[in-house]
């Protein structure tokens, strides 16, 4: 048992609050899944490793390799050094609590049918916790979006094993392009018994890598920003600008890897670039805060006590 009783109590309280979703919708978790993969990719892009010389594909080997690499080298992207000692007992206890909770929620205490889901979900949770113990509250923790999926009421199995995935969701591979068949897929289950949904990752991460590298080389700093059209020309494919924005530039921006201004996109290279990105976002947030305040005022007029309740 961990001696860190208060942290464990808090974890238990949060796990006890978990419930499975009544719905089973891909749109509930797809963005979180991709965001989790981009957050892992952040380390691939920003921590140099002269040893690594393979063509990147998001499969189980890369997923596992990145997981190990990140947990062992997190200090290279964090401003703080992780403590030498991690409370491994706490991780063990938390995992056990989560395992029991998932078994109870899925009503699968006795069968092994959901074993891969329980393993995958608790593995992700453990990684999130280990990272959080090393770097408390860090936004770089790449398991945050994956834990979000659990908080939205889905347990999941992440793998590239076509046979095992197909046991739960056959259609994933029927619908997908052949060249993505070796990629990672996520299969989820909510409260609906014996029903699953899933997504096979497309190749957006390869596009993210090449665009990031292009910007780093040809658009380093806000003064050298390039337009979406120029990025499209560089990619030399028939991918629409809207798709590039959705699958490539927006996720890279969200991960803090690139910035944008009125001229286009750029690699954040200097403190000036970072300040510019921060200022642009701050302005947007202030605008949104203003709108929220107007809604709150309208709520008072309509006699609504707490507009944000239950959100």
């Amino acid at each position: 048992m961990s001696e860190n009783n208060s942290t464990l109590a808090l974890i238990r309280k949060n796990i006890d609050r978990l419930v499975l979703s009544e719905r089973l919708r891909i749109s509930d978790y797809k963005e979180d899944f991709y965001s989790h993969l981009t957050s892992l990719l952040r380390f691939h892009l920003t921590v140099p490793d002269e040893q690594y010389h393979r063509e990147f594909q998001f499969n189980e080997n890369t997923y596992m390799g990145l997981e190990q690499f990140i947990l062992e080298n997190s200090d290279m992207v964090e401003a703080t050094k992780a403590p030498d000692d991690i409370d491994w007992d706490l991780a063990d206890d938390a995992k056990d609590i989560l395992k029991d909770r998932i078994k109870r929620l899925t009503e699968e205490e006795k069968s092994d049918d959901l074993k891969p889901f329980i393993e995958s979900t608790t593995n992700v949770f453990e990684n999130w916790l280990i990272y959080d113990l090393m770097h408390p509250g860090s936004v770089y923790n790449p398991w945050i979006p994956a834990v979000n999926i659990l908080q939205k009421g889905y347990v999941y199995f992440i793998s590239d094993d076509k046979d095992r995935i197909s046991q739960y969701q056959k259609r994933i591979y029927q619908k997908a392009d052949r060249d993505t068949h070796g990629n990672l897929a996520i299969v989820t289950r909510s409260s609906k018994k014996r029903k699953f949904s899933g997504v096979l990752a497309d190749n957006r991460h390869n596009l993210q890598i090449s665009v990031y590298q292009y910007l780093k080389e040809y658009a380093s700093g806000s003064d050298h920003a390039v337009s979406l059209g120029e990025i499209q020309d560089f990619m030399g494919t028939n991918i629409s600008r809207q798709t590039i924005r959705m699958k490539v530039t927006s996720p890279l921006k969200k991960a803090g890897l690139i910035g944008s201004n009125s001229k286009g996109f750029f690699h954040i290279a200097t403190p000036k670039d970072l300040k510019q990105c921060y200022a642009a976002h701050l302005e947007k947030v202030r605008g949104l805060q203003g709108t929220l305040r107007i809604y709150e005022k309208q709520a008072k007029v309509l006699g609504i006590e707490n507009l944000g309740e239950g959100l």
Binding site: D49, E50, Q51, Y52, H53, R54, N61, T62, M64, G65, L66, E67, Q68, F69, L71, E72, A82, D84, D85, I86, W88, D89, A91, D92, K95, E126, I130, M134
Partner: protein
């Protein structure tokens, strides 16, 4: 037929066992390594928990940077150690080399697991040391599952003693 004194599990694309614990049988679960590695040194493709070798075959079992298998949970540990101690002789060793943040082999976890599980007729004694610059394998290129650099800083040795049933009461 080659004679092997030792065995390396999850050897990946490397040849650690052959360099430092020869004659050593290199094994890994992933059959794709046959084509994925520049040079494949593996002698046998098998799961560390299901070894195609007889009882009391090897003197040392080596695990470098285990990931995806190892000591992460009590159940996994029990299966792995049952299998390793089956193929190991009496008075043998399991050497685990890894980073202290590797959840599959961090020393604290291994030590805890050893006390959590019970192995029929086997005693295990745990020791751990830092791998410093004096270590003979310091410059060896250890890799993650997808070929990234990993820096192990702990060497854990499990000393294995088997209690043979003498048939005397």
């Amino acid at each position: 037929m080659t004679f092997f004194k030792n065995i390396e599990l999850g050897a990946g694309c490397g040849n650690f066992g052959k360099l430092f614990f020869s004659p050593c049988c290199l094994t890994d679960k992933n059959k794709e390594l046959k084509i994925a590695c520049d040079i494949c040194h593996l002698d046998c493709f098998c799961d560390a928990c299901e070894l195609p070798f007889g009882e009391n075959t090897f003197g040392i079992a080596i695990l470098c940077n285990p990931y995806g298998y190892g000591f992460n949970t009590k159940e996994e540990t029990e299966i792995l150690l049952n299998e390793l101690t089956r193929v190991l002789t009496d008075d043998s060793r399991i050497i685990i080399i890894g980073n202290h943040r590797n959840k599959y082999c961090t020393p604290k976890r291994i030590e805890k697991r050893i006390h959590q599980i019970s192995l029929q007729g086997v005693n295990i004694h745990f020791t751990v040391k830092e791998t410093d610059s004096a270590c003979p394998y310091m410059g060896y290129p250890f890799l993650t599952t997808d070929g990234r650099k990993t820096n192990p800083n702990k060497e854990i040795t499990l000393y294995v003693r088997k209690q043979f049933n003498t048939g005397l009461d």
